[in-house]
Symmetry: C2
Subunit: 226 residues, 2 copies
DNA sequence: TACTTTATTTATCGGTCGATAAGTGTAAAG
DNA sequence: CTTTACACTTATCGACCGATAAATAAAGTA
């Protein structure tokens, strides 16, 4: 079940003039949430005064909740990267009750619902261009918790010995599929251009391309056994 | 002024510190070239003083050659985007002397040689995140001069009537292939992570995936006629 | 009620930025 | 050699940025 967004407290009207007390934990979360939207739009070079204006407070108040702008930024991308990751993804991908193709489609349908948003995409690239470690860490997570499990499932589905190691080449193939899907998100949210296929169909065709490529790959390497 | 010049003008040893005349056009080009490298590393928010230091000159000199920082930046990405495009790409892609698969591989081998560089990739995303028009313009150019010609060649290769229109869905399929290849560049130059396959092999497998996907696409739509 | 606590504001500092004006010295022109 | 042109410098301005200190007002506590 999808929890509906918390009904924003009935606008306490304007004229927040001065000292509008709120619970501190709640306030902090509100700051981070709005900072995500703010920084995703203007980049991490966006000023704290402009951010404060959007929060409806004065600039020094930000420093009561975060020691520095960098700390706030760190919290922003940790929230985006970590809290939006769902462990269920790996669980479902490795559940052999259904065909691996269907599992892949279901995964990317769910995954793209999370990452194909303006904030996620832009925060991701702002952080990537900054050369932050968390970005490499995230790509590593995709590799370990998605692509490698997927390759393992494919070995099983293609009847390859469970002892056969997963090669870097196979993972590169999986990255090509992943990139084909991911690029649609780039086009939509970085370049603001939409595609002709719906998102589900984009995912399906990318996965079908991947399977066709795998057939060729395994055939050439004489690994296919069925 | 009180400060007495060192009067050591005699020892104009090593790098000539002052008044090092050069041809103005040459100097301008040198500024743009170094600015490409500089901005690709630190982003367009990089300071003019830091840039000047790398150029070995003082900061105000930049404003003798460019009216404003924005003008310099505009020249930077126009140089990267426009001057590195080769019209021969479209010519070769539509030359039916060889198989379309071979043409595609040859194109992406050449294209990735140009764009899979740290400067190109990073300038591209810095500009994309800034929401610059030139970015959409570039994506439009790839569509018009690569993907649509490719789809037309594929129609011919697959024996589809020359009157059949190229659909948005077909172009989306081509974008998936393009994105699969492009993403390897992102991994390498934005995340600084290398893949297992060589670049040529990455291109080949992405194209083979694409062809396999096309087969399925045309079969389902009953457009295939051979 | 008076007292304490703290969320929030006002005021401000030092640093950096893009940009401009004025000075300086060398190369080129005569 | 003298004069002129201009590539390049020094000095500086006003705006903005991140961050801090002190003042203020609202909430909690008695």
């Amino acid at each position: 079940m999808m929890d509906s967004p918390p009904a924003t407290d009935v606008l306490s009207q304007e004229t927040p003039k001065r000292g509008k007390r709120r619970a501190p934990g709640e306030r902090r979360k509100e700051f981070v949430d709005k900072a995500i939207i703010f920084f995703s739009e203007v980049g991490f070079e966006g000023g704290t005064r402009e951010l404060a204006k959007r929060l409806g407070v004065t600039q020094p108040l930000i420093y009561r909740y975060f020691p520095s702008k960098d700390d706030l930024i760190r919290e922003v991308y940790e929230t985006v990267y970590i809290s939006r990751w769902e462990d269920q993804w790996t669980t479902d991908l490795t559940n052999r009750d259904s065909q691996v193709r269907d599992r892949l489609i279901a995964f990317y349908d769910s995954y793209t619902k999370v990452i194909f948003t303006r904030e996620w995409m832009r925060i991701f690239f702002f952080a990537g261009l900054k050369g932050l470690d968390i970005n490499k860490w995230y790509v590593g997570r995709v590799r370990e918790r998605v692509l490698i499990p997927v390759c393992r499932e494919l070995h099983h589905a293609f009847g390859i010995s469970p002892d056969a190691e997963i090669t870097d080449e196979e993972i590169d193939l999986a990255w090509t599929m992943h990139g084909g899907i991911f690029y649609h998100g780039i086009r939509k949210h970085i370049y603001m251009l939409d595609g002709g296929l719906g998102e589900t169909l984009q995912v399906e065709t990318a996965i079908d391309m991947f399977f066709a490529g795998l057939e060729k790959f395994y055939a050439e390497r004489k690994l296919k056994q069925v």
